[in-house]
Subunit: 390 residues, 2 copies
């Protein structure tokens, strides 16, 4: 049955990008302040913090990040647990927070996340990111993430006729949406021709098919129904949540044109929400690479397998389309500070649903879905959110 007691009552995203002169803890603290004090929710009301960070151990030589970051953000003493699931770290933290509220153990909690990636060289960041794949079986052989998603792209092209131009269209859409999002790393529109620039990272993926290396943070406050009324007239309910895993290495997969973890997680979330893909007004999916958006849009049931590129070509997924996807620009153009991404996705859905998305507002905004994806798809989390007055 649908979750009945979990509400998002505030949400904040920092600017994403190369944030010069600020450290991990400073980014995190900005996100926390934005979702609490500055949103009218005093920090003293926060009973626990669910933290998402991916790999501060290798990026800033810091483990045990939850109490460290929470202390710096002015919440010393509060129970704080770090969740790590590669690029899905943020959504696993969010999901734990949902369970904490539903359990009745807490009634007001914070989900907060940050990643500082530009403090190391691109090579070192790439090495750190590779720890999200199977080191013994694959990444130590040199298969980095552009390679992983390049393989998926080739498989999708071979099976469904998806083209490099289709993927480039996802990049054009991302940059267009991000051009009006002041928090985006890239706020510049690009032409299809530019997106097709043959600067290959891992064939068939080119520079504009890849999300960037970014710094950034995001946070949300979740409460029970009773507490929600104290903070806002328009809470957003989390009515369904799903999570699944899959083999980490690609060599154990039966199909590279779909990710079974995304399929399973979305089915679980729809079932819990008692809703289906047709009930979704807006979607945020994990577009670490352009092909990932196309595949995710199929995996979570918005389009039939193989029809994601067609929807993109026909403008269905544009901001003003029938099924807008990544209306604020996605990982591709907004940036991808890994541990923060899943929380930021929920921030986007929250803002769209309450009608606070400015130039990026979608027309219909009762119900939204977010899909966060870890590494090679070994983790997928899907949440369905609905405005409380619907």
């Amino acid at each position: 049955m649908p979750l009945k007691n979990t509400n998002v009552v505030s949400a904040y995203q920092t600017k994403f990008g190369r944030l010069e002169g600020v450290t991990l803890r400073e980014i995190f603290a900005e996100a926390v302040d934005g979702a609490t004090d500055n949103a009218g929710i005093p920090k003293k009301d926060i009973q626990a913090v669910f933290v998402g960070t991916f790999i501060p151990e290798m990026l800033v030589h810091q483990g045990h990040t939850a109490p460290l970051l929470v202390d710096y953000a002015g919440l010393r003493g509060v129970a704080a647990t770090r969740h790590e699931a590669a690029c899905a770290s943020g959504a696993t933290a969010l999901r734990s927070a949902v369970m904490a509220i539903e359990s009745g153990i807490y009634d007001t909690v914070l989900v907060a996340s940050a990643e500082k990636m530009t403090s190391v060289s691109t090579n070192r960041a790439t090495e750190a990111l590779a720890a999200a794949a199977d080191d013994e079986f694959e990444s130590s052989m040199g298969l980095t993430f552009p390679g992983v998603f390049g393989i998926a792209a080739v498989a999708h092209m071979a099976k469904y006729g998806t083209t490099e131009e289709d993927m480039a269209r996802a990049a054009v859409k991302a940059h267009k949406n991000a051009s009006t999002n002041p928090l985006a790393q890239f706020q510049k529109e690009i032409t299809l021709e530019k997106a097709m620039t043959p600067r290959y990272i891992a064939w068939p993926l080119k520079l504009f098919d890849c999300s960037p290396i970014s710094d950034g943070g995001a946070a949300l406050v979740l409460t029970s129904n009773e507490k929600a009324k104290q903070y806002t007239d328009l809470p957003v309910k989390i009515i369904g949540t799903g999570q699944a895993s899959a083999s980490m290495n690609l060599c154990d997969r039966n199909d590279l044109t779909a990710f079974e973890s995304s399929i399973a997680a979305s089915k679980e979330a729809y079932k819990m929400a008692k809703l289906g893909p047709k009930d979704m007004d807006v979607a945020v999916v994990h577009d670490c690479f352009t092909i990932a958006e196309i595949i995710a849009s199929e995996d979570i049931g918005l389009f039939k397998p193989g029809e994601g590129a067609k929807a993109l070509r026909e403008g269905v997924t544009a901001l003003d389309g029938d099924m807008p996807i990544n209306p604020m620009g996605g990982l591709k153009a907004v940036g991808h500070p890994v541990g923060a991404t899943g929380v930021k996705q929920a921030v986007v859905i929250y803002r769209e649903l309450i009608g606070d998305a400015g130039a990026n507002q979608v027309a219909n905004h009762d119900t939204g879905i977010m899909h966060n994806f870890g590494g090679t798809g070994a983790t997928a989390v899907v949440n369905i959110m609905r405005r409380s007055d619907v």
Copy 2:
């Protein structure tokens, strides 16, 4: 009010120590098999896995460990989330599992944990462990963990008159209890004279005051009341749980003779369980160093501040004492594969409570408490467990 729906129905610990020729995933898989198939709980019944690992990123260049380890252990596809809180990683995973059951979202889940530490040099392991402290403020200046707990020991000695010999008694007790525990890294009794060997690691802590670097894993199956009956006639209930944080760096602490996170977490757990320290029959506390056992026994209220060493001297905390602490040997003698320790502590309480502790069985075993501690005490988790027939 006490938690009412969370039961431990099986528990397993691997051998701890320098485990030659086995990898992280193999250790983890042994723990999972031990708590599931080999305990009569089919893997197909497991709906989610809560994983505790501390720092595989730096020890075996592997992040995103939850789905990787769960896949290798025969649970591909199941939702799996990794929790990291330095030495308290295991107990934070356990606590998330408690919330998952209490929320009603799942009714049968696995908590599983492992660390492989001996694959790197001792220096590299020490560097990795240091990531659990504040890198910017303290650990980068050279303050490693023996130093942190050496400072706590000096403060405790100055304030309460605790002596090096008192700490050595904790080591003697740990080795004595571990001598009959076949899963312990050290199964040899030591004399007080040997424990006092002046081989200083960080004054006043000597070699025998320090827990070792270890490999190992542990796992538990948790279920709702309804499911528990399918698996065992004697489930153990988790009736109280508490978690708190503190400043990571010592320079922000007001008192170095007590850890406020432990005090706060234990108060929360007692309150939830509607029990007090006097109701505890057996305790497992986080003795990464001998002084840590003494301080923890005071922090969680078993003895008044400053009286932990006296209780130890008088044999109160011995296996046959009135308040046995670490009856199977603790981190000090059983070993400390960091991410696995918190789960192993719950395994010990479970085995003691159901009367399955063999030569290490305590006389009274209705109710037990476990205390898991992260890094410099920036995280503390306390759980109270009770046999279901009490």
